[in-house]
């Protein structure tokens, strides 16, 4: 096993598996978040958020998700260092745009920017909801729960800067996924002549859905309120 984890393909296997796990998480995250813009009373979102916090299955998956993030981030820096070492003397003149996309060459840059966004995002919401307890309580259908809707809507309605940060976060994530999605399948060997282009197209569509889906939420609050 240790041999597998130090082999280049073994390491990338870890990147792919953790990446695809995060891809699944994003789909769930976006579905819940879109409730923010479909019900201005906030009830729907609050019920969904409450369900996520109290559901035992989600509670079990949460630490796993944290681990997924950590592995994906730490491994990426480790891998990039290995790859950087493979070319000690750099080229004087490079013309890489002819042969590959900027996104595919700068996954670490995009990932690092997404990480910065992720930290801001955690401080804004997750930290407040779970630890500092700065969220007001409300009662919906006789059940006490945190008013997560007001927390999110409050931030997006009042701060244009945060709106911009969240739109940028969504777009950066989209670019990261536009290469990462199909690349993960390719690394796992789940690709061939027919499926490579199909996966690339599915990955692009998924990237657009994620980017637009997440960006539209702060914009909705900014424009409507």
């Amino acid at each position: 096993m240790s041999k597998f984890l130090t082999a280049s393909i073994g390491r990338k296997f870890i990147m792919s598996i953790s990446g695809l796990f995060l891809v699944m998480f994003l789909a769930v995250h976006l579905s819940v978040n879109l409730l923010l813009i479909f019900d201005d009373s906030g009830e729907l979102f609050n019920i969904a958020a409450h369900f996520m916090v109290t559901n035992p299955l989600i509670r079990i998956v949460e630490p796993l998700l944290g681990l997924g993030f950590l592995v994906h981030i730490i491994w990426s820096f480790f891998l990039e260092y290995q790859n950087w070492k493979a070319r000690p003397v750099k080229y004087n003149q490079k013309n890489p745009a002819v042969a590959s996309t900027w996104t595919s060459r700068n996954m670490l840059v995009l990932g690092a920017l997404v990480l910065v966004f992720l930290i801001i995002h955690i401080i804004n919401f997750y930290w407040v909801i779970r630890f500092t307890g700065g969220v007001q309580e409300i009662t919906i259908n006789g059940e006490h729960m945190e008013d997560t809707y007001s927390l999110v809507a409050g931030l997006f309605k009042t701060s244009v800067i945060y709106d911009i940060i969240y739109v940028l976060g969504g777009i950066l994530l989209g670019f990261h996924l536009s290469h990462g999605f199909w690349s993960a399948f390719h690394t796992l060997g789940l690709s061939n002549k027919q499926w490579m282009s199909r996966l690339q197209i599915i990955g692009k569509i998924y990237a657009v859905i994620i980017a637009v889906g997440f960006s539209i939420i702060p914009l909705y609050f900014l424009i409507k309120f």
């Binding site: 082999a7 280049s8 393909i9 790859n83 493979a86 070319r87 003149q93 013309n95 996954m107 690709s191």
Partner: protein, 253 residues
């Protein structure tokens, strides 16, 4: 119709006396180059001039000059084998350049391909990867009847496509990670597709990848630059196959 003449070119080229030397760029001027001449012929002319001036000619690799031996290398104007597609440097023509242009020539850059002199790099690493498993050791017996082992047309074609790799190293040179995955995957795929090669497919993938890692090549991030710069257009779908072979080999152990 006579070929046009490039009146003047500036050749900015990497000069390095030996493996230990730090190396530097030097710029030479060359005049009256026919657009019909190949890139290597242009270098031959430049070297003639240098010899006449009593200077050390530029060392570069070349052999068949037919685009099939994989010997010529050169990173020209920021691209492996220069500004043409699906060609080796010997098949690159001067018509791809403009009069008065400065052409930058560098050797392949990779930890696994150390520079020996000027533009010549040591590509023994590829041989070592092949020696680690890029062969068939099963006993195939005498010459069988041509139709004794049926192979589908598709498999034969895919295998031949992968086998067209000439081991030039452009994939490593073009890759931002200096990864040899396209080379290794072509060798693994071309054998794994055929009945005789299938027998050792798993151990072959494992051994060749282990050797590739040991020699200091980087990992693959699927940018696809190798496929674009490959003179034989070897597809990166071979890399997916190598990943598949390697992972199944690892998990079945």
């Amino acid at each position: 119709m006579a070929d046009k003449i490039l009146k003047k070119l500036n050749i900015k080229v990497w000069r390095q006396n030996n493996a230990q030397d730090k190396g530097r760029f030097e710029t030479y001027t060359i005049e009256n180059i026919s657009t019909g001449s190949s890139f290597l012929e242009m270098l031959d002319i430049l070297n003639n001039n240098l010899i006449e001036e009593g200077k050390d000619p530029i060392a570069f690799d070349h052999d068949c000059r037919e685009g099939i031996c994989g010997t010529c290398s050169l990173f020209i104007n920021g691209r492996a084998h220069g500004p043409d597609t699906e060609v080796t440097t010997c098949q690159l023509h001067m018509r791809k350049f403009k009069d008065g242009e400065t052409i930058t020539i560098e050797p392949w850059r990779a930890a696994a391909f150390p520079v020996i002199k000027d533009l010549v790099v040591d590509r023994t690493a590829f041989e070592k990867i092949l020696q680690a498993g890029g062969y068939i050791s099963v006993n195939t017996g005498g010459v069988p009847d041509a139709n004794a082992i049926p192979i589908s047309h598709e498999d034969a074609e895919e295998s031949m496509d992968a086998a067209s790799c000439i081991g030039c190293g452009a994939c490593v040179a073009a890759c931002k990670n200096s990864s040899a995955m396209l080379f290794v995957s072509a060798k693994v795929a071309h054998l794994a597709k055929l009945p005789q090669g299938k027998v050792e497919a798993k151990s072959r993938a494992r051994k060749m990848v282990a050797k590739m890692d040991e020699l200091g090549f980087g990992g693959c991030t699927n940018t696809g630059a190798c496929e674009v710069e490959c003179p034989k257009s070897i597809s990166i779908t071979n890399i997916a196959r190598l990943n598949r072979e390697y992972l199944t080999a690892r998990f079945s152990e």
